[in-house]
Symmetry: C2
Subunit: 285 residues, 2 copies
Amino acid sequence: MSSLKEISSIKLFNGYQKRYSHYSFTNDWEMKFSIYLPPKALKGDQCPVMLWLTGRTLGEWGFTNKSGIQRFAAKEGIIIAAPEPTPRGIEVKGEDGELPYGSQFGYYVDSTVDPWSKHYQMYSYIVNEFYQLLTSTNFPVKSNLIGLSGHSMGGTAAIPIALRNPDKFVSVTSMSGDYNPIATEGGSKILSTYLGENKDNWENYDSTKVINSYTGPERTIFVDLGGSDPVLDDFSQAPLLKACRGTNISLDYRIRHGYHHAYEFIQTFIEDHLLYHKKIFSTLI
Amino acid sequence: MSSLKEISSIKLFNGYQKRYSHYSFTNDWEMKFSIYLPPKALKGDQCPVMLWLTGRTLGEWGFTNKSGIQRFAAKEGIIIAAPEPTPRGIEVKGEDGELPYGSQFGYYVDSTVDPWSKHYQMYSYIVNEFYQLLTSTNFPVKSNLIGLSGHSMGGTAAIPIALRNPDKFVSVTSMSGDYNPIATEGGSKILSTYLGENKDNWENYDSTKVINSYTGPERTIFVDLGGSDPVLDDFSQAPLLKACRGTNISLDYRIRHGYHHAYEFIQTFIEDHLLYHKKIFSTLI
């Protein structure tokens, strides 16, 4: 475990919003993350964690800065951890538009193809290195109560990551994701960019496929979508319903009319996601 | 308005579960209905109503008898009204199995074809005659707070009926319905039985079509499905998601793993439906 370097620490709702960087051996790159420690954590009490996977456009700081989640996290005593969505600042051929989806996308996969594979190992980073960083002695984390959420490509990744690792993530919610990317035009382009043409491997990052092969304990997952979201089409959504039928996974799926894809949607509904985790945590204490 | 004949009146959770019959001029038949009056209504206070459309198998008494809803209705001060799903006891050629779907189905449509059209006018019965019966002086009903719910063919009907009459029904929830019956095999057989081959008319009873042409005020609808329900397939469900996108209708769609189609599902989750109506009623008082 490399040491953490504190970038900033700012008081917020009687807790502290902190920002760190550390060298990630998984991505072979210096990575940043944000973490909000609620008042309960400052007293040294172990707290549950909501781990947030952000979308492409903003770094880890964007969610922290704009979502307004700390108001609720302070009240509920839940730590909010938000890693950087990709190793930022790498100059990769193609990142300026030669590829349809390039640098700063990443999709939280372990890339298997040049030029991405050297630094884009985000699946393993989240599941192993960042998880280890969170649950080691750095922070007062209740390691059996960690939930995963995300938005856009982070929402796409949250369900597969959580369900492939049910021993690590006890709850999962998702905003505005693509739940069947192996079948959508956009998803396929992204997956082929980072994973090449081995479609068996693509399935590891597709919610419907991961649900179909899921063998872990019962889960209830929460999916939230803006009714006027122009990014996502029906094909990225409807297969999720079918996938859940006949499994031991229950689904809470919402459409909220008039909302779009970006931060206004997150700000409006982020409390519901925190409380969804809290409700599941409360059954496990 | 024909007079009501009381069949029974039984004390339950400090309220009264009553059962009536009356001559329906719409259906040209004697019809029964159940109504639960919570303690609040017995004091003479006007109460909101949850109007329940039952599925095919049981009469109006089945929901009343088996759902357990009165415990919650008593507490929340909400009247539960459950009309008979079809005019029962009519001998119609075909009801014993000559047609794929015959007597006692009905689907809450206004039939346009022999031999059904004489007595099977359930859409108009619910929207006009039964609504009028409820909101006249028979019961202490707060007529601006009536919500519609149903299960199976009642769940199929609840959304189109509520959204075609938003001035009468301010909220709607549905359990285990077919939301795109014009496109499913079972739905098409039923609609052709009662409506013939005029598919334009079928669309009046199809949630996706009614949502597409909806011009009323904003609505949030709640749909609930058992994950192991063997009656409903993906084709009856997924189009609902697409239909809601870009409209002023928000959707809460749930799948609860392991549950089947019948009363065990209703009993487990009926409180959630009552509270969904209550939450919407509370914004309108």
